[in-house]
């Protein structure tokens, strides 16, 4: 079976120390103000939970407190939505990536070898069509390189046989990484042994390869993947053409031209 690299995340282990974010930032030279990955948090619901059940507790003059439920609401199979938790994430390396569809030059592509969603720096013209196409906000335009940047599951590290920077550094090992199609892998085992969910936008399921163990209720935050219709049409038309041009080595000129346009645009905005 084909390799599909994936991440399984146990949000209930995450202590929100942000080690994964800083590790990623250093490894991938992500500029200040931008991130390739993140830790989101669910805000707690404060209330007099035990007090409500027990008026005697309030009679003692006690103030507001909450008691968190360690036994999550088993009926729904989700964690207690009233409790706070931290949810790490990043590019989900979707099986059906909207960003790939939105890319007019074929710079963003699904790597056949390992199933990651990759970006070819040389083909990216920095148009940014893929940015709103990602339901997870996993892409940004690099302010110096003037092209789009995103997580590649630390391709360079993997080439050296190392784990992604966010995975290896995590204190509580909330992030597990591997080939989901290999039944012997840790990720496959975790998915098999636990109830897991994939966080998707209801309207645009991009089939992410990031699984969340259901010890916490994942937050419902992905936005609808947006890909402007003309771009989609143009992309479908242009892609085969673009790939053909690669061989002719004429693309460099095109890319340079494109980049200049973008840079100029931004300069005039300033």
């Amino acid at each position: 079976m084909k390799t599909q690299l994936a991440m399984v995340i146990d949000s209930s282990s995450c202590i929100d120390c942000k080690a994964c974010m800083v590790s990623c930032k250093v490894e991938n030279k992500v500029p200040g103000g931008y991130w390739r990955n993140w830790v989101k948090q669910r805000e707690p619901r404060f209330g007099k939970i035990p007090g409500a059940k027990d008026p005697a507790a309030q009679a003692e003059g006690c103030r507001t407190w909450i008691i968190q439920a360690p036994d999550f609401d088993k009926v729904k199979g989700y964690g207690d939505p009233g409790s706070m938790h931290f949810q790490p994430g990043g590019c989900m390396h979707c099986a059906n990536p909207a960003c790939v569809q939105a890319c007019p030059t074929g710079a963003t592509y699904k790597d056949e070898k390992d199933g990651t969603v990759r970006l070819n720096d040389k083909l990216c013209i920095g148009c940014g069509c893929c940015i709103p196409a990602c339901p997870y906000g996993a892409r940004y335009r690099h302010p110096e390189k003037k092209i789009v940047d995103k997580c590649d599951f630390c391709a360079k590290r993997r080439e050296r046989g190392e784990l992604p920077a966010c995975v290896i550094t995590c204190p509580t090992k909330a992030r597990t990484f591997g080939n989901i199609n290999d039944p012997e892998s840790d990720v496959a085992r975790l998915v098999k042994e636990n109830k897991t969910v994939r966080v998707v936008n209801e309207e645009t399921d991009t089939e992410p390869n990031m699984y969340y163990v259901l010890t916490t209720a994942p937050m419902n935050w992905p936005r609808k993947a947006e890909s402007p219709t003309p771009i989609r049409w143009w992309a479908s038309l242009a892609k085969p053409l673009v790939w053909a041009v690669v061989g002719l080595n004429a693309l460099g000129v095109l890319v340079m031209f494109g980049k200049q346009l973008i840079i100029k645009d931004e300069e005039t905005e300033k």
Partner: protein
Amino acid sequence: MATKTDTSISRRSFLKWSGAATAAAVAGGQAPVLHSLAYTGEKSAGSEPEYHFSACGMCLNKCGLVARVENGIVTKLDPNPKFLKSRGMLCARGNAGTSQLYDPDRLKYPLLRKGERGEGRWQRLSWDQALDLAAEKLTKIGEEYTRCGVLFTPGSDMQSQFVHWFAEVFGSYNVTTHESNCLLSRNRAYLDTFGEVPFADVLHSKYIIMAGANRFESIITPDSIDLMTAMKKGCKLVVLDPRFTKTAALAHEWFPIRPGTDMSFFLAITHVIIHEKLYDEKYAQEKLYGLDKLTEHVKKYSPEWAAKVCDIPAKDIRRIAQELAAAAPAAMIYPGRRTSDYVNSTQIRRAMAIANALLGNWDKPGGLLAARMVGTTGPELPEAPFYDDNPDDRLDHGSAHIMFDEEGSFKHTRDAIIAGKPYPVKGWFTYKINPLQSVANRRKTLEMIDKLDFMLTVDIAMSDTAWMADLVLPAPSYLERQDPAAGLQGSSACACVVTRDPVVPALFESKPVFWILRELAGRMGLEEYFSFTMEEYREQQLRKLPDSERALREDGVYYNPSKLYGIYEGKIYKTKSQKIELYNERYAEMGLDPMPVCKPLRENVPSDRFRMVVGRNAYFTHCTTQNNTLLNELMPENTLWIHPNPAKKLGIRDGDAVVLSSKSGEGELKAELKKGIREDTVYMASGFGVLSEGLTNVFGKGACMAEILEDFTDELSGNMAMHETIVKVARKGAS
């Protein structure tokens, strides 16, 4: 035997540890971008990175790391997967170590103050000029005011021991460390109960009460990581904290306790355990001293009584006591670390220690552990000279009931310097410590500095303390220097030894404090006391661990497979009664409460005021890493946590600028409305509101904790009491 360890690792062995991940085709990487250096070269094709072991220096934990070096630049720090104490992790700060190394704000060469203190006018000196000047000034103060006229304040660092040694051979007993601002009251309490300061076996515990500690944000290895692992295995965590920390967020139960009343809670826990006979009677008879007296003492401290004091329902206190006792001995009240909070902190922690004693958890899995044997030995150093004109004691001698002589009390030392009594102190040597930010009552620290003839600071960056100094000497980061070996206690994870060799050469003109001290010693006729090299020193430290050199070279860490549990079997406790002291005879003899007595708070919070509490987050080490570019992005400024209800009364909205004031000083920062804090309490993070313009990321941001906090101290240990300050909060512009 040479102990210099070549810490470069073969690529193969590194790959072996880092876990085989699927290799994949990749596009070419780009050259490292280092804004601080003139490095612009492209990476030469096919050059292999080098890997070096080291130990992190971003906080005190010393986590094992592997540094990746490409073309002479440290491009990445990863955890050493063989390093058990940290469970093979590196936190955000550890990952940001490269940003400390390549920080454009680093001190680059010796600087001499030219203008007024704090004016920021400096003259660059050569090292010879700087060292000549320092030696001359220190000698002059020593001659005029005795050698004790110089105060030494080393921070928590692997080379700090050389500052202690220098102070000793120079002849000053006046050495204060960070400890009197941190954990002395905890140490006092546990020493006076068990005869030893314990390590918590969090990993094997089934029930943990955490009060006055925030282990998921204030990362201590292995406790922070083990706490999560233990919880995954079913350990229950109960957190008492006036604010909803991330530890509280992840706990099974959180109680926003009234600040300063933890003693009442633990006396009530003890009350329940004793009166419901939930303790092991045989154990109590054999090991505990004073149970009869304690039984009588806690009679009045019922859960119903405590509920009114601490704001936690009686039925919860009773239930928690029962659950805790049912899980014993694999249960604990977590001893905590920074306990510099109240004027009676030692007695508060005594109440916790006593409850621990009743759980019978000492020296047992899931309980409190004695120090394990690490095996490093103190180097044989020549006998320090004797100066017969020196005064009899430290400056702060006798200023608290039971102080630690070797640590002193910064607060009492500072008061004595300001008063000039019992004798004048006119010199101050600080190394990698930042009292201007970390010690309560900044105005007093400034007043103390005004009394000095000469202040010398050795640090990596222009901290607020360096900013006030006369002479500032640049030190290298932990990645650029050779350090002694350090023995570490890792609870049930390990007892281990780490060391450091330079991963890259020291940048700019920075020099390690060891070199600085040796140079000073040479200029002051003390060279015979600093005649050893770092290699020789380390060799002596490791002389009883023949395998350590190989282990440090091959694994970056040496483990001593020493005994973990049952260390006290058949042994006496190092207390007066030779048992675990519920009742402390020595306290009774000194006229102190032999058992903790719950007294009213020093000051109640008026309805229009707040109690200020301080505490850690996972990004900053006290007052030292806020200016680190990578970490600063996680929290660019500090805010004032305030509950929406009182905020509404004061007309404060989220993000409004507020003025926070106390009897000590005032500061301005933004309000952050948080339901997760008691209505009578406010909180702010440390390390902002800086004086130093040399900290470009944080200058002008937020407020300074040390400016607001009043300088109360724990009566027994002389430890700072940082939660005794009552503050006023007003929207900026509101009268």
